[in-house]
Structures are given as structure tokens and as C-alpha cells.
Symmetry: C2
């Protein structure tokens, strides 16, 4: 199944090929494990067991527990806030709802909620786990940068795009936390709508 067109041919040996083909599958299994059991039980051995591979194989694929955890965090935050599909949608959804409402829908429905739940658990645990904390920091920076770029593309003046991206992600994060913990979907959805309307008004002032 190896391809002659690989970008780094000197690295293509048997192990590297296995890595390439199984990596995504294993990362998916590890993420599912974290979604089900929470981050407190994110040990390599447990993940390996649940993915049906050996401990050594997992280490081979991801390097260290820290690196695997970082990739899981990145994936969970990506699915929760500013998933690339949502941001790519920004032009098409401009008229009915826009990308902000698409993000909200993603974070509050179906598997989005499971990702939010894990995100909350991860941030809670990050306070006592430096590997988790570093992963969350990197991922927050990445999310904020992605949204900042999307805002500039949508017409936001660059000097305010960073603060606005931070505000949007912070508000979504705080509101989904309330929604998940209280279950008051109507109250929290109304609060989100107040925020979204304010942002709509702001966007009108950007011109275009």
C-alpha cells in the first residue's frame, strides 16, 4: 500500500508505512476513549488496550504520552470550536446565520456536546497536569489564530481581529459550559443570540 510519491522517501521503511496508515485510526480510537472516559484516565496503557494495540506500538506512533494527549486535545478543541469545515463555510453561510451560529450549532448539538464535555474535563485537569496545560495553551492559540484570520477575511479591521476572536471563543466557551452544566438550553441559547446580534451589528460597520 506504499506509494512511490511519498514526500519523504528516505523515511519510508516498514515501520514508517505502518505509522502512516494506522496513525489516524489510532488517534481516532484514543480520542473516542477520552470522550468516553475523560482525561483523568488517559494512560497509554488504557488507550492501547481499548485500541487493541500494544503499549509499545502506541509509543511508536505518537512518541510520548504528552504528544498523544496534545493531539487528542487539538482534535477535541478543533471539533468543538472553529472546526475548519465551519470556518470554510463562512462565505456560504453569510446570509442565513453566518459562521458564528454555525459554530454554536456545532458546539451544542450531537457529538459536539460530547466534545465540549471532554474539553471541560481537560481544562479542569490541566490545572494539575502540565502536559495537558501545554496542549490546551497551544490549541487555544491555534483556534484563536484561525478565527482571527477568518474575521479579517470577513472584513474585520486587523487591529481588532485578535481581541474579537478571543472574545468570540471565550463567550462560546463560557456559554456552552453554562448550557452543559445547567441544561437550561432556552436561557443560554437566548444569551448566545444576544451576542450574535451584537456581532452582526458590528460586522455591518466593517463595510465591505
Amino acid at each position: 500500500m506504499g506509494s512511490a510519491g511519498d514526500e519523504e522517501p528516505e523515511r519510508v521503511d516498514g515501520r514508517r508505512l505502518r505509522y502512516r496508515h494506522r496513525r489516524e485510526e489510532l488517534l481516532q480510537a484514543a480520542t473516542e476513549h477520552a470522550l468516553e472516559h475523560g482525561p483523568a484516565r488517559l494512560s497509554l496503557r488504557r488507550i492501547a488496550d481499548s485500541a487493541g494495540v500494544g503499549h509499545a506500538a502506541l509509543l511508536h506512533h505518537f512518541g510520548t504520552r504528552e504528544k498523544l494527549v496534545a493531539e487528542i486535545v487539538e482534535r477535541v478543541l478543533d471539533r468543538t470550536f472553529t472546526g475548519p469545515r465551519v470556518l470554510a463555510n463562512e462565505q456560504r453561510t453569510g446570509t442565513e446565520g453566518g459562521p458564528l451560529r454555525a459554530l454554536w450549532q456545532q458546539a451544542t448539538t450531537g457529538s459536539g456536546e460530547a466534545h465540549v464535555r471532554l474539553f471541560l474535563a481537560i481544562t479542569g485537569n490541566a490545572l494539575h497536569d502540565e502536559a495537558l496545560a501545554a496542549a490546551v495553551r497551544r490549541s487555544l492559540h491555534r483556534r484563536t489564530g484561525l478565527l482571527e484570520a477568518a474575521l479579517v477575511r470577513a472584513g474585520c479591521p486587523p487591529p481588532e481581529a485578535g481581541a474579537l476572536a478571543t472574545l468570540v471563543l471565550g463567550t462560546l466557551r463560557g456559554l456552552v459550559l453554562d448550557r452543559l452544566l445547567t441544561g437550561d438550553t432556552a436561557r443560554v441559547d437566548a444569551a448566545f443570540e444576544v451576542f450574535a446580534l451584537g456581532l452582526d451589528r458590528r460586522r455591518e460597520s466593517w463595510g465591505g
Copy 2:
């Protein structure tokens, strides 16, 4: 040290008097313990040890672990968001900064940060601990209600006060989380300021 003016004289016996005089002190010790060690180690025995009382005494004062945890959560969230002193300040601080900026200051400086940290840990653990979850739910409702009433007193139309209170608390929560995890105080403070300016504009439309 008993007083003849107690409100419920029929309940005044020796134990009740001890309860009255030591309760606040013990709650404070338990809260300090949680601030230092996080909610995962909030066992009655550990709290009792650190407060220098027996396990039975603690049960006597607070009923169950669940009730004590609820009081700690309530106290931590009170100190973090919408502390009564901040809300009471709303008239006096109206010109320079206003109550929202006072809340932000409280949540991001000094002991405020320690409370935010514990709040994050509590919400993370709440996902797997129904006693914590119930306490957080009640406390979120109480905080939102207090802020909603303060907004109405400040001129906010009652139909939108609930959504706005939810939005303000959600945004503060999400932003302090970013601030604490990334340490990017300038970026997050700028985001808060964008939010506060938007709310200032909104308040102008309330008339008065």
C-alpha cells in the same frame, strides 16, 4: 457566648451554639483547603484534618459531604463572579468603569485568580460527580439571578435581563479560562474591553 436574642430560641442548645460559632470558621477552612488542593481531594476526612476538627464534628456542622461541597462551591463562585460587594457597588462605580469592569478586576487579580482556578477544577470534576454538578447548577442559577436583578436596577429592560446576565457571566467565565490557561493577559484583557464597550453602548440605549 450565647446570645438571648437568637432568632430560633427553641433550637439553642449546646451543640447548636457551637455550630453557630464555628460554622463560618470551618467553612472558611474547608474553602481554603479546596483552593489549595483542588476539588478532587475534597474528602471530609482531609478537610477535617486540615481544619483541626474531627470527622464527626464536620458532619455535625454541615450534614453531609454533599452539603459542605455545595457551600464551598457557592462561596467560590460568589467570590469569583458577582460577589455581593461588587454588585452593591454598581451605582458608585457607574462613571468610571462600572460594575462589569469591577467584576473583571475581581476575577483576574489576587485571590480572584485562585478562585477562578478552583472554579475550573470544580466544573471539570462536576462532569463525573453529581454532588458537585448539582452545587454548580444551583450556584450558576443564583449568580445569574443576582446579576439579572442588578441589570434591571441599572435600567435593562426586564425581558432581556436574563439573557444578558447569562451572556455576561458566560463571557467572563470563558475569558478568565483563556487568561488563566494561556497567561496572555494583554490579549484577553483587550477582548474583555471589546465586550465591555459593547455593553456600555447597550446601556446607553436603555435610557433612564
